[in-house]
């Protein structure tokens, strides 16, 4: 939601390591994060803080399973769901970067590729496929997008 960024962030995990001097907190083991309508589930989450104490970015990493993230941009919007082996949440830019086995579902529309950037406020989506070096499994490696026509267009 629009005021998600102003909400407190709650984190649950099996264990954690804090390095106040470096401004980092590393949570590992069944990590769950909540901030307003934003939800993240991951194996490991690292929280980076600026010198003024504000959160700069959060990096969530999967282990066997991919990281899962969901958020509802507006009350009337469908929930956006995202999956990737690594998800970076950049607080100040209100932007999420999905890396490796990235997939994003926005209602019925879906995007998948090697890397996806999603702007939480503007809902703008950028996606990149695998470059030659990354394309080990000789899959197509290109971005895959499935867009469903809106209701108005479906009726024609």
């Amino acid at each position: 939601l629009e005021n998600d960024a102003q909400q407190p962030i709650s984190v649950l995990a099996q264990n954690a390591e804090f390095n106040p001097d470096q401004g980092t907190a590393i949570y590992t083991g069944k990590v769950e994060i909540e901030q307003g309508s934003l939800r993240v589930k991951a194996h490991k989450v690292t929280v980076y803080r600026r010198s003024d104490g504000e959160i700069d970015k959060i990096i969530a990493e999967g282990l066997n399973d991919r990281v899962y993230l969901q958020q509802q941009p507006k009350p009337e919007d469908p929930i956006v769901k995202a999956y990737a082996m690594k998800i970076d949440y950049l607080a100040s830019q209100q932007q999420v970067e999905l890396t490796h086995q990235a997939e994003l579902e926005n209602g019925q529309d879906s995007f998948s590729g090697e890397r996806i950037r999603y702007h939480l406020q503007s809902k703008r989506i950028q996606a990149w496929g695998q470059n030659k070096t990354q394309n080990e499994q000789s899959t197509d490696g290109r971005v895959k997008i499935i867009l469903f026509p809106g209701e108005g267009e479906q009726a024609q």
């Binding site: 962030i9 984190v11 390095n19």
Partner: protein
Amino acid sequence: MLFGKRLKKRFISLIGLMALGVAVHFLDVQRPQSFDLFSDLPDAPSEPDYYTVNSTFLEYNADGVLSRSLRSERLLHYPDIEETALVNPEIISYGSTGMPQWQAMANSGLVEGDGSHFQLNQNVIVWQISAENLSDATIEAPVDMQLSTEQLNIDMDKNQVTTDKAIKIITQEGMTSAIGLFADLTTNQITLKNQVKSLYQKQSLPLIQRTNVPESQQDK
């Protein structure tokens, strides 16, 4: 008459003696009895050789800079088992500049033989104040971090603290609870062992009286 006078004298001296006896008994009752002072402490398997009331021990490093202070309401030393029992202890560890690095207090404590291993029990609170917060402060300094638990083991030589109990940490940026902790108070690295819950939300922390810094250190 003679007999009357003598009897009167004897009677007065008897009254005097009784009054003296009452006065001595009254004073004796007022004087803190050693067993009263420590009747609330668990029975120790050996005899104490000394005790102190409202004492402060100051320890200085080789350069003559205050490194540690231990304040306690009551302290009882047991030579045979090389332990010291403390009531309401307050420990302050000073950094190389002689400013308090962190402070800890509790309802009771135990010091093992060499004096560098403490165990604090019940209502254990540890505060940490950064150097800049303290040097800017005139009367009070905002605490950077407050840790609370029910039992804490402190290794003063390594400046490390550990516990297997539930802990709660409050900083300016938020609050975290967990079960079990290891913290290195020199590198400020904190490891939380189980059931970690963090809430990132601005918190207001207590202020520490700057008077905890002995005058000799304050004007440095």
